[in-house]
Amino acid sequence: MGDLAAEKHVRYILSVEKKKDSFESVVMEHLRMNGAYWGLTALDILGKLHVVDVDEVVSWIISCQHESGGFGGNVEHDPHILYTLSAVQVLALFNKLDVIDVDRVTGYIVSLQNEDGSFSGDIWGEVDTRFSYIAICCLSILRRLDRINVEKAVKYIISCKNMDGGFGCTPGGESHAGQIFCCVGALAITGSLDLIDKDLLGWWLCERQVKSGGLNGRPEKDPDVCYSWWVLSSLIMIDRVHWISKEKLIKFILDCQDTENGGISDRPDDAVDVFHTYFGVAGLSLLEYPGLKPIDPAYALPVDVVNQIFFSK
């Protein structure tokens, strides 16, 4: 293990474009908005967001907005709730939420709530608790949470709770750390954490830590750096993070660094990517690793950004 190769990670994030014809670049085109969120949030946590040209980012984001109010993954792509949250989060990073018509974005999200309280991802109607989180997080950042039926939204999330204390994507779906983050995050933002059996869920989550120190997302699966975020943030929100070994997890994440060229991978010695670089850095931030900005476990944004949203006028 070494220390966090912070400078190299910054350089890696900024240099993703130089990898010509990489497989990653081809599959990323349509989710460039998510990529922007991962890369820029990681940069902010590393204290280097200022190297980015704000106006360029903001004008590109605006160009991805659809007339419905939602955002696409890139210019001229169809809107989806997934990209809408990333767009709003990136604007929040730069304190530029005032450049969008908040009511139009709100209208788009409100239109995706279904009768049972669940949310669809786009006009085609796919339902998933991921979308419940996204809708709630996004509206909360826009300070328009009162525009949806929160009570029904919470009720739907609770209907996805399993006997092991975890949550799945729809009622009866297997508990999965990624879905748990979404459900716990949505419940935290709506002030409904009392509906969770924290001790039972906390035990399930801390059982995700394996011998190597890494966390997996389901029983008997391999550990992966991305779960450092999903499991950890959930444990923090339910106030049970001391139930895992922080030291061992820090070591696992640091072992996943490419110490030569920067970037973090899913497991030691695998290829790095922006997605895992973000989750690794964000995970270390949650673990209070020195030199990193603290990140908010529910909003997945730096704490100072969240404060700026909620404590400004």
């Binding site: 001229e76 796919e126 092991d164 297997e174 508990s175 906390g202």
Partner: protein, 333 residues
């Protein structure tokens, strides 16, 4: 052909050289000035997407546009907009959805961990209605035979059962998968889904007795299996009094403790059980005492405190959890 995505690299004719596309002017991607996450597209992918944008903006509802979406999906199955346009095309061209199902199957064989594929598959199945039941169950079975924990496949299968039916053989399917891999948490979850939701089994209460027997046996074979222990607890959902006093549960724990290996979940379960079951029982005291001597920790007159101390020792990564469990014992106060 609309569904052909297996074009060999060398056989592929660029779109600009195909006579049927000569009337279309491709539209390049506008990434704006110095993009934040600049993307370099492969030449082939760029060309297909340039033509795709041309037909998409022109709202050209033609069979060549449908064929083009297949090519674009073949190069990147994750693009929402391409799938979205494909559905509009399928609807307007009134394409036989049985053929579309085969297309999805081919795409999924290359990249099944993609949300859009599954969403599209569901859209097709929804349109076909109950006649799609068997093909959908077979389709997920095929995917699960390669990756038995495939989250999307399980999700789709649950949707099929609830919307198109086919519950009759599901419990035996779960048993089959668990016979292959008793650690498969997805199969345990599906089993729970079936016994609690199947309209043909009578619900959790009716199934409890036989399921407890099944689970106890599974635990005895592999006591380190987290999934089976959680399932056992789940069988007593909302019946915790029944659970903490169940003789089968306590004797299962005892049996495993006596083997002196892989006893972590047995010990933890024991902590859940009623003190009136454990405390006065000589067998439990002996079994715990034997474990205590094996790992050489301090004796405590209270059996539950000793259990926590053992767990702290044998599961050090979660030591704080076990310390907390100990602090919650009434006798620790």
């Amino acid at each position: 052909m609309a569904g052909n995505i297996e074009v060999e690299e060398d056989d592929r004719v660029p779109l600009r050289l195909r006579p049927e596309w000569s009337d279309v002017t491709p539209i390049p991607q506008d990434d704006g000035p110095s993009p934040v996450v600049p993307i370099n597209y492969s030449e082939e992918f760029s060309e297909v997407m340039d033509y795709f944008r041309a037909v998409y903006f022109a709202k050209e509802l033609s069979s060549r546009a449908l064929a083009l979406t297949a090519e674009a999906i073949g190069l990147n199955a994750g693009n929402y907009t391409v799938w979205h346009f494909r559905r509009l095309l399928l609807e307007s061209l009134k394409v036989d959805l049985h053929v579309e199902r085969e297309f999805v199957e081919r795409v999924a064989s290359g990249n099944s961990k993609n949300y859009q594929i599954w969403h599209h598959r569901r859209w097709v199945a929804e349109k076909l209605g109950p006649e799609a039941r068997n093909s959908e169950l077979e389709f997920t079975k095929k995917i699960l035979s390669v990756d038995a924990k495939h989250y999307h496949a399980w999700s789709h299968r649950q949707w099929v059962l609830q919307n198109l039916g086919g519950w009759e053989d599901e419990l035996s399917y779960c048993s089959e998968l668990l016979a292959e891999d008793i650690f498969n948490n997805s199969a345990w979850n599906q089993r729970y889904f079936v016994i609690t939701r199947s309209p043909v089994l009578g619900g959790l209460k009716a199934m409890r007795e036989s399921e407890v027997l099944f689970t106890v046996e599974a635990i005895i074979s592999y006591p380190e299996n987290e999934s089976s222990w959680r399932y056992l607890r789940g069988l007593f959902k909302d019946e915790s009094t029944l659970y903490v006093n169940d003789a089968q549960v306590s004797s299962l724990c005892l049996k495993i403790l006596k083997t002196k290996s892989n006893y972590l979940f047995a010990l933890s379960t024991l902590l859940d059980l009623s003190a009136s079951v454990i405390q006065p029982n000589e067998d439990f005291r002996d079994a715990i005492e034997a474990l205590r001597l094996q790992i050489l920790i301090k004796q405590d007159s209270d059996i539950a405190i000793t259990i926590c101390s053992i767990l702290e020792q044998v599961d050090p990564i979660r030591v704080n959890y076990w310390v907390w469990r100990k602090s919650r014992l009434p006798q620790a106060a």
